[in-house]
């Protein structure tokens, strides 16, 4: 078996309802809409640091980053969004990158950068 298939379907709509709005700090001007199962749904929660044709980029410039439920929930929502859009999710850990945070993101399926983003 080259590739294993997981339990698809997830809880996309649940996430969208749960989160509601989130005030942006340096909010991304992109309107993000997830298309799933033939339905299009706006994601009001997304405050993304960058969206390109092929990827979502999230920058974490935090001095003492650590794994927390809030961090995991946010990464999960962004992963759900990226998977729904069929784009990559990149996390930029620019100030601190504790091993467990890096590893948890890697295992979740997130591309993790430990340098500064270009530009």
């Amino acid at each position: 078996m080259k590739g294993a298939q997981g339990a698809q379907g997830a809880h996309v709509d649940q996430f969208s309802r749960d989160e509601g709005g989130r005030a942006g700090t340096g909010a991304c001007p992109y309107g993000v809409v997830v298309a799933r199962g033939g339905r299009r749904r706006a994601n009001y929660f997304a405050r993304l640091d960058g969206v390109t044709q092929s990827a979502i980029h999230e920058v974490k410039n935090v001095a003492s980053l650590s794994l927390s439920q809030g961090f995991m929930d946010q990464a999960y929502r962004y992963k759900m969004l990226a998977d729904s859009m069929e784009v990559e999710l990149h996390y930029w850990l620019t100030n601190s990158y504790p091993a467990r945070v890096v590893e948890w993101l890697e295992q979740l399926g997130v591309i993790v950068h430990t340098g500064m983003p270009p530009g």
Partner: protein
């Protein structure tokens, strides 16, 4: 403690980890069979709450309405348990991560009891795939110097193949079948064990702290490179 030095377990499963019964079973397994390193508090709404048999019901109720939960222990042996339940990990799985301070693995008895506990965890969660590794080393194994982005840790994607060979490796029944039991059970490893679900556990060396890259490569070559995702090849 230095997180790089911790020993990490990851299990990918299709089981519904939000089920109250499974959450109860998982917490009880830690509390009752891993006394030396079991997490003893759980983050609930941003606060750390002690978990024991008296508070189990409250912890399980919180767990069952969450998508991610985090539990920890801050005294010897320090540990952390992260459970991700939305079916979003590595191509659509639920994921259980458990880290423990490497200082726990100082004796054969400790390593043996830890492995026994991990097999019990495996039997409860029936993972498709899992592994146990030294955290810093596993990150180095997944890191490339990306020409555009610099140092980059490439993600696990089980849809594309297995990530690598680590100290201990849990192959679920689907992988055991596609790789072949004969091949897995003849791998050049310290320990090869059939599991309850017809999967296989391969433990490359006696201690997770004394594994060499050439030993990992030998096992990987024996299994067949076609089963692995060459994620460092940009």
């Amino acid at each position: 403690m230095n997180e790089d030095d911790s020993i990490g377990l990851v299990l990918y499963t299709r089981m519904n980890l939000r089920s109250a019964g499974l959450a109860t079973g998982l917490i009880r397994l830690f509390l009752e069979h891993a006394e030396q390193f079991s997490p003893n508090s759980m983050e609930m709404d941003g606060r750390w709450r002690r978990i024991d048999n008296d508070s189990l019901e409250e912890a399980v109720a919180y767990w069952a309405r969450s998508y991610n939960v985090l539990l920890q222990r801050q005294v010897d042996y320090e540990s952390q348990l992260a459970v991700s339940m939305g079916g979003m990990a590595s191509g659509g799985f639920n994921m259980v991560d458990f880290w423990i301070d490497a200082s726990f693995f100082a004796s054969r008895e400790a390593i043996s009891s830890y492995l026994q506990f991990c097999v019990a965890l495996h039997d409860l969660l029936k993972p498709v795939y899992g592994n146990i590794h030294q955290t810093g080393d596993a990150i180095r194994m997944a890191t490339v110097d990306h020409p555009k982005y610099g140092p980059t840790v490439m993600p696990v994607d089980l849809r594309k193949g297995l990530p690598d060979i680590y100290w201990a490796n849990f192959f679920g029944p689907e992988y055991a079948s596609s790789i072949g039991l004969d091949r897995l059970l003849t791998a050049p490893c310290h320990e090869r064990r059939m599991l309850e679900d017809e999967g296989v556990l391969l433990v490359v060396t006696e201690s997770p702290l004394a594994i060499r890259r050439e030993q990992q490569h030998a096992v990987k070559n024996h299994i067949g490179l076609s089963h692995f995702h060459d994620r460092l090849n940009l």
